[in-house]
């Protein structure tokens, strides 16, 4: 049990510092670590956890809390959550003063510009990786692509698309 907690702490603390672009960009790597490297969850269990985390309000880092809970109960939840938060929050705490103060300096502007496409490439990969995790049939692929088109073309609340996705998939169950 302690070994699992140490592994959880080590895995998520390491991921915390490379999560440029947030948890969404990190998703393929979390999936790889949790399913392939450590074998903590099956592919299906991971897809379910992902779906449950997305159905809940709040920052999507709660996916990591849920993984911790599924792997090692309350202790796992606390360890995983703190491990993913402490390194990046500590960095944010110390770096924010410097970045805010020197936000006009050429080096900071350069870094900011350079990191944008890195974050976007990771986020794009994450969308595809999430589809691979969740979409098991033609209906879910269509739901994903339709939602992508909805978000791309409108500014409406994405909650509509999430609700429609759930309804469409339930309807498909009864029609097939």
């Amino acid at each position: 049990m302690n070994g699992v907690l140490v592994d959880l702490a080590r895995t998520f603390a390491a991921l915390s510092l490379v999560s440029i672009g947030g948890i969404n960009a990190l998703l393929p790597e979390i999936h790889r670590q949790v399913v392939a490297v450590h074998g903590w969850m099956t592919d299906t269990a991971f897809a379910n956890a992902f779906a449950i985390a997305n159905a809940s309000p709040g920052p999507n880092v709660i996916l990591v809390s849920l993984i911790g809970w599924e792997v090692a109960g309350l202790a796992g939840l606390l360890v995983a959550t703190l491990a993913i938060l402490i390194p990046s929050c500590t960095l944010a705490y110390f770096a924010s003063h410097a970045i805010m103060r020197w936000s006009d300096r050429p080096a900071v502007v350069l870094l900011r510009d350079a990191l944008v496409p890195v974050a976007l490439g990771l986020m794009l990969a994450s969308g595809v990786s999430m589809m691979r995790t969740v979409d098991r049939d033609i209906v879910t692929v269509v739901i994903s692509l339709a939602t992508a088109a909805f978000v791309y073309t409108t500014k409406r609340n994405p909650l509509w698309a999430l609700a429609s996705g759930a309804i469409v998939n339930v309807a498909a169950l009864h029609l097939s």
């Binding site: 393929p28 709660i62 909650l159 339930v170």
Partner: protein, 187 residues
């Protein structure tokens, strides 16, 4: 609401007020916290101006870690120091964590009902599309140059197609991206 807060960086926002504000942000934050954080911090509470909030969120995006979590570290520190940071984080995480565990437990009981499973997977498929669509929209909105698109494509291919581990990919991409940005500036 119209105060220029950059001129008076320490407007008095109490600890309880800070905690309750972020508790609300966490509770309302369906499908991404950032829009709700802005709504509550800028429009409802008037703690920050729109420009200040955008700057802080921008810094949150550059740093590793969840954007809004990073932003709440900066906002908490600004109003109440390190204690404020902890209050903002706790406020934001507390209810969502309880809710997600509750949902997971309910789901475990109901997983055998096909409709429940189908609804959950349908919503998750939509979330995947939401990430994809948001990424494409953001790429469109930054009006990318060839170099920018190259970096985006390289990052996408390394992770989504070749499934390389994230850490070396990010390190390599950051170096390439900085080099590319410098070259574009020089030319």
């Amino acid at each position: 609401m119209q105060h220029d807060l950059s001129a008076s960086p320490r407007r008095n926002i109490g600890k309880a007020e800070l905690f309750l504000g972020f508790l609300k942000i966490g509770l309302l934050g369906f499908g991404g916290v950032a829009p709700w954080a802005r709504h509550i911090i800028v429009e409802e509470k008037g703690w920050l101006t729109d420009k200040e909030f955008a700057e802080i969120l921008g810094v949150g995006q550059v740093l590793p870690g969840p954007n809004v979590v990073n932003a709440s570290v900066i906002i908490g520190n600004r109003f109440q120091g390190p204690v404020g940071v902890l209050l903002c984080l706790l406020g934001q995480m507390a209810m969502p964590v309880v809710i997600v565990i509750g949902l997971a437990m309910v789901y475990q009981r109901l997983a055998s009902i096909p409709e429940v499973h189908a609804a959950l997977i349908g919503a998750a498929a939509a979330s995947a599309g939401m990430v994809l669509g948001t990424a494409l929209k953001m790429i469109r909105n930054i009006r990318p140059t060839a170099v920018t698109l190259g970096i985006v494509g390289l990052g996408f291919a390394s992770i989504a197609l070749f499934r390389w581990p994230l850490v070396p990919v990010v390190v390599g991409l950051v170096v390439l991206a900085i080099a590319g940005t410098v070259l574009v500036r020089r030319s």
